[in-house]
């Protein structure tokens, strides 16, 4: 059973609870609006996506853990894929811990698209049954203003 809570004023918080599916709580700054409830805006890969009016987007995927990959394995796979294959600049990375205690890893990237600088952040949390992939990105000028808040929200996630 799945219940979706959507707060339209103030802080936007998402809690997707399921007895046998993916489950997480992510609270984003009040500049974000969630797109999860609108079927036309859903993307089959994302459990949720939220966006600001100026194009900073946060999305969460909850993937079944089909292979026994560690946090280190998936972090390296993500970094290799984005750097070596897609030309993203790895600007920094660090270990993070969710509010519910799960260990995660956060990678910060930069990439020019059509001459404009963008920022892209990927946070990974690996549980025994799921890989949670949190993505956040947008034009660098607007993203950097929200970067600290976004990363604070990621650290406050609960699984």
């Amino acid at each position: 059973m799945r219940a979706t809570l959507h707060l339209s004023l103030g802080a936007v918080a998402l809690a997707v609870l399921s007895a046998c599916g993916p489950g997480f709580t992510l609270t984003l700054p009040d500049r974000f609006v969630t797109l999860t409830d609108d079927p036309s805006l859903r993307d089959g890969r994302y459990e949720m996506r939220s966006t600001t009016s100026d194009g900073v987007v946060v999305g969460v995927q909850a993937l079944e853990h089909r292979v026994d990959g560690s946090l280190t394995f998936w972090s390296e796979a993500v970094a290799d894929r984005l750097r070596d294959q897609q030309g993203y600049a790895l600007l920094g990375e660090e270990d993070v811990t969710a509010a519910s205690g799960e260990r995660g890893h956060l990678l910060r990237f930069g990439r020019d698209i059509e001459g404009h600088a963008y920022r892209y952040t990927v946070a990974l949390f690996v549980t025994p049954s799921r890989i949670f992939v949190v993505e956040a990105g947008g034009r660098e000028a607007v993203y950097t203003a929200l970067e600290a808040d976004i990363e604070r929200s990621i650290r406050a996630m609960r699984f």
Binding site: R45, L63, Q85, Y88, R111, A117, V133, E135, G137
Partner: protein
């Protein structure tokens, strides 16, 4: 016919005699411009300086003006005004190899314009210059003695995805070309003196044709020498901002679709 044979023998003798018979070589040596001999490392000639882009491989007509027969015919030519001797370079008393350094760096595609500005500034600060700049690539030339320093600085500019540094030893080619130039210069001097002694128009025209062929070959060789000297004196660094997959065959890919779908286009495509 006998006269033509005599001329041919004289020319062949001149070719075989080599520089020992060519008093003109010393005069030619006086016309070398600074940097003619090329340089390597810390011995880069003073004339090859910041803000002075070299002529990359093209024969510069104005800088190498061959003396015309009428000047060569004058016994006063060897004592005529000659340009001051070129600044001594590492290649004059040449010790050690002549090396051409080239580097190709792949940086991640982020803040490309700013990073290109930084690379260009590094080149100028080192006494080099911009050679070419496009949206995805910048090529700079820097004094050979500053190559490693500039390269190290560029590796700090952004996220380095690939690097390729090569060194080409052109010592043998350089000395071979120099030898051939000296030989031809001596031959030119001898043939010019033959022109002085031409007794009729037919002989003079024949000698002029030989002189023209020698001149063309000299200009070609000098152009080659200038090109090598420039490449030895100034190293080339190319910085590309591109996805690695476009530069070399794709690496091994993990069989997870979600990995391949990661990235800004998927995240930001809300429609």
């Amino acid at each position: 016919m006998a006269n033509r044979f005599a001329w041919g023998v004289a020319l062949a003798a001149g070719c075989l005699a080599g520089p020992a018979c060519g008093g003109g070589y010393d005069a030619w040596a006086q016309t070398r411009e600074p940097g003619y001999g090329g340089a390597s490392g810390a011995h880069a000639p003073a004339a090859v300086s910041a803000g002075a882009p070299a002529d990359y491989g093209d024969v510069d007509e104005g800088r190498y003006e061959l003396p015309r027969p009428e000047r060569e015919a004058s016994p006063r030519y060897a004592q005529a005004e000659t340009p001051p001797r070129a600044e001594p370079t590492a290649t004059d008393g040449r010790q050690g190899p002549l090396l051409i350094y080239t580097a190709q760096i792949g940086l991640a595609v982020h803040q490309v314009s700013d990073k290109q500005d930084r690379v260009e500034a590094l080149a100028r600060e080192a006494g080099g210059h911009l050679h070419r700049r496009t949206d995805a690539e910048i090529v700079i030339r820097v004094p050979a003695g500053r190559f490693e320093q500039v390269l190290a600085a560029i590796l700090e500019v952004g996220d380095v995805l690939s690097r390729d540094v090569s060194v080409q030893d052109v010592s043998e080619e350089f000395r071979d070309v120099e030898t051939r130039i000296r030989t031809l210069e001596a031959m030119y001097a001898r043939v010019t003196r033959l022109l002085e002694g031409a007794t009729n128009v037919e002989h003079a025209l024949s000698v002029e044709q030989h002189l023209e062929r020698i001149t063309l070959e000299l200009e070609r060789l000098r152009g080659r020498l200038r090109f090598l000297s420039d490449r030895v004196a100034f190293s080339t660094i190319t910085v590309r901002f591109t996805e690695r997959a476009t530069v070399s065959p794709p690496r091994f890919e993990l069989p997870f679709a979600w990995l391949r779908q990661l990235g800004l286009p998927s995240l930001l495509r809300l429609q």
